[in-house]
């Protein structure tokens, strides 16, 4: 409106002045210069603060996602919803004398749906929703970060007043950029930004009219400043964890809703096999499966596509590395070793044995984790270590020597022994690792590994027949499914014999 009027009025005034006998050129030139200067200032608004950045996103621009569309995370969702309810039912919380929650911190590993939850929160309440991310406060000019925080909160308040709402939600993604710990005497620029955020959230001059709820997301909660984490700032810390099996199944179901799934596709099994996958990885899995199906020109996504997609997400795409026959054989023996021991210590745990190089691995055995497990006994860890050592042990048994292919296995085995020792499950008893020398630790670790290696070798001995039989099959087919492998194992396993050493 205003711009149109100015554009209409300026030529009229110029015409009139020209009629009066003033020459309009100087005025026009002056106007052009003023316009150019204004534009210049605006383009460097960060530095000079002339034009404000349009950080405010309307609610309509936030994708329409409801809490129902987020798989799993029941507790986190409930917690978040409750905090949002405080914005909706203000009278009721007043009745109970509840101080409204100032901030919610969503923390958790990458890809678990923190941002997704914020999107859902945007639609859940009838509040003004303002979103930004930590990196938006980073600029080459000093003081801009603090200014942006002020602007952000001001915008939220203004917008709320304009829309006649009495609450606003400010969502700051990746808050660790600005919320890092203030330490030492070095004054950093981010400190100013953080200080401004702290005062805006719970300062003396906090606005009572418009209630602002700050929702922040981070995957580095340990890095955040303690002042930010205290009650009154971020009152609620909601950790968004990796999904458990039930949640994984729900996520997979949600993600495959719009995809043609074959009747044989078993979501339950996929959920079983994807322990440790985040929501984003599961999404990627379904996507890759669909891509595989399209590549195969299959009308539906079959179990095989999903299974391949798991491998792809876990290990990376198949590579073209051409190995020599001898190397392939060695890899096959190695993987079979892993698979046999895995099957022996935990029956039905092998899901796939593959000889196709993927990512960095030349071959791999995909395990079936069974139930989601968060606690382990000594025996269970020892079994894990044995599975790790089995590859090299198998090579030793067949070729009489080992290769560098077992390096990763040893590293992993080392991690397990360390867990064993640190958790007080080893023969050293309960120890404080700071007070024990590395040598002692190493000795204990070596002892454990040696014992387990011997056990593993002994076990493998019973299955020497399996090696020769399964080797041909594996070399030919490249992939052995878990059930096929179990058949072979049953068929060719010798009766246990005690070795004399």
């Amino acid at each position: 409106m205003g711009k149109g009027m100015i554009i209409g009025a300026i030529p009229a005034v110029i015409l009139f002045l020209a009629y009066l006998g003033y020459r309009p050129m100087p005025l026009v030139v002056l106007g052009l210069v003023a316009g150019a200067v204004y534009l210049l200032f605006q383009s460097r608004s960060g530095a000079l603060g002339v034009g404000k950045k349009k950080r405010l996103q309307r609610k309509d621009s936030v994708p329409n996602i409801s809490f129902d569309k987020i798989g799993g995370q029941y507790r986190s969702k409930e917690e978040l919803k409750e905090a949002l309810d405080f914005l909706i039912h203000r009278k009721r919380i007043h009745q109970y004398g509840i101080r409204p929650i100032k901030g919610i911190l969503l923390s958790g590993p990458p890809g678990t749906g923190k941002t997704l939850m914020a999107k859902a929160a945007a639609h859940y309440t009838d509040s003004v929703f303002v979103t930004t991310s930590g990196s938006e406060f980073v600029e080459m000019y000093v003081g801009v970060g603090a200014q942006r925080i002020r602007e952000l909160f001001q915008e939220a308040r203004d917008q709320a007043k304009k829309n006649q709402k009495n609450s606003a939600i400010v969502f700051i993604d990746e808050i660790d950029v600005i919320g890092g710990q203030r330490e030492g005497s070095v004054h950093r620029e981010y400190d100013q930004t953080l200080n401004q955020l702290l005062t805006e959230m719970d300062g003396i001059a906090s606005d009572q009219e418009v209630q602002i709820l700050v929702v922040a997301a981070t995957n580095r909660k340990d890095m955040l400043d303690s002042a930010l984490l205290r009650p009154g700032r971020f009152d609620r810390h909601i950790s968004v964890d990796l999904p458990d099996k039930k949640a994984r199944r729900m996520i997979l179901e949600l993600q495959t809703e719009n995809k043609p799934l074959a009747p044989d596709a078993d979501i339950d099994q996929i959920a079983d096999e994807t322990f440790g996958f985040s929501g984003a990885q599961l999404e990627s899995l379904t996507n890759e499966a669909a891509i595989y199906a399209m590549r195969d020109q299959s009308d539906v996504i079959c179990q095989r596509h999903l299974s391949e997609a798991i491998d792809k997400v876990m290990m990376g795409e198949k590579t073209d590395r051409e190995a020599t026959q001898e190397e392939r054989e060695r890899v096959a023996i190695h993987e079979l070793g892993h698979a046999i021991i895995s099957e022996v210590v935990r029956p039905k745990s092998v899901s796939q044995v593959s000889l196709a190089p993927r990512g960095q691995a030349l071959g791999y055995v995909r395990h079936h984790p069974g139930v989601d497990r968060y606690l382990y006994t000594r025996e269970q860890i020892e079994q894990q270590i044995m599975v790790c050592l089995a590859g090299a042990a198998a090579e030793e048994q067949v070729y009489g020597n080992r290769s560098t292919g077992a390096r990763n296995d040893y590293e992993q085995a080392g991690r397990y022994t360390r867990t064993l020792i640190e958790a007080g499950l080893s023969d050293l008893g309960i120890i404080n690792k700071d007070w024990v020398s590395y040598e002692t630790l190493h000795r204990e670790s070596a002892k454990i590994l040696k014992e387990l290696h011997e056990q593993t070798a002994q076990m493998l001995n019973q299955y020497s027949e399996v090696f020769s039989r399964a080797l041909d099959l594996l070399l030919k087919e490249e992939v052995l499914s878990g059930s096929r492998f179990r058949e072979l194992l049953k068929q060719f396993a010798k009766k246990p014999v005690q070795m004399n050493r």
Binding site: M1, G4, G8, A9, P11, L20
Partner: protein, 176 residues
Amino acid sequence: MKIRWPVAAITLVVTLSVLFGGYMAYQWFQVEKPITETVQETPHVSLSKLSADPAHLELVLKTDEKFSVVHDYMPLRRQLHTVAGDRKLSIRLKDRPDSHLHKAWNEMVFGIKEGMALRRYQEIPKAVQKGTEGKKIEYEVSMDDSYVYIELHRGDRYLYRILPLHKPESEVKDNG
């Protein structure tokens, strides 16, 4: 921001009409009306044409034989100047000469010009007197800071000459 062109067009029209309308009104009330009134109040003269633009004010005055440049024109001009303000004022007097008056003027103009050029202003009345002698022409001569005024009357015919002292390039008035 999106520019609303209809708004711009309406604003243009409205602004133009306000500015020009205001200016026209000012012109009428502050310039044309006082000038017309002033001229009407002066005897033996009427306004034949008035054109005004922001920089110029041009008047054509019609006179009768009783109008005297020396007695009537000089105060009128002063009054018009105050109304005109900063604008350049040009006034044309319509006289009614005949061949006798022209002839007399043609004779006396040499003396007058010489007197003005040499700044011997006493020569001017002498030249006029000499040019009108024995021709039944009444005359009147006068001068002020800027002009020399000469009027010749013969019966109902009359001739006015107003010669600028300092601008020799516009000495002769075009009487149309």
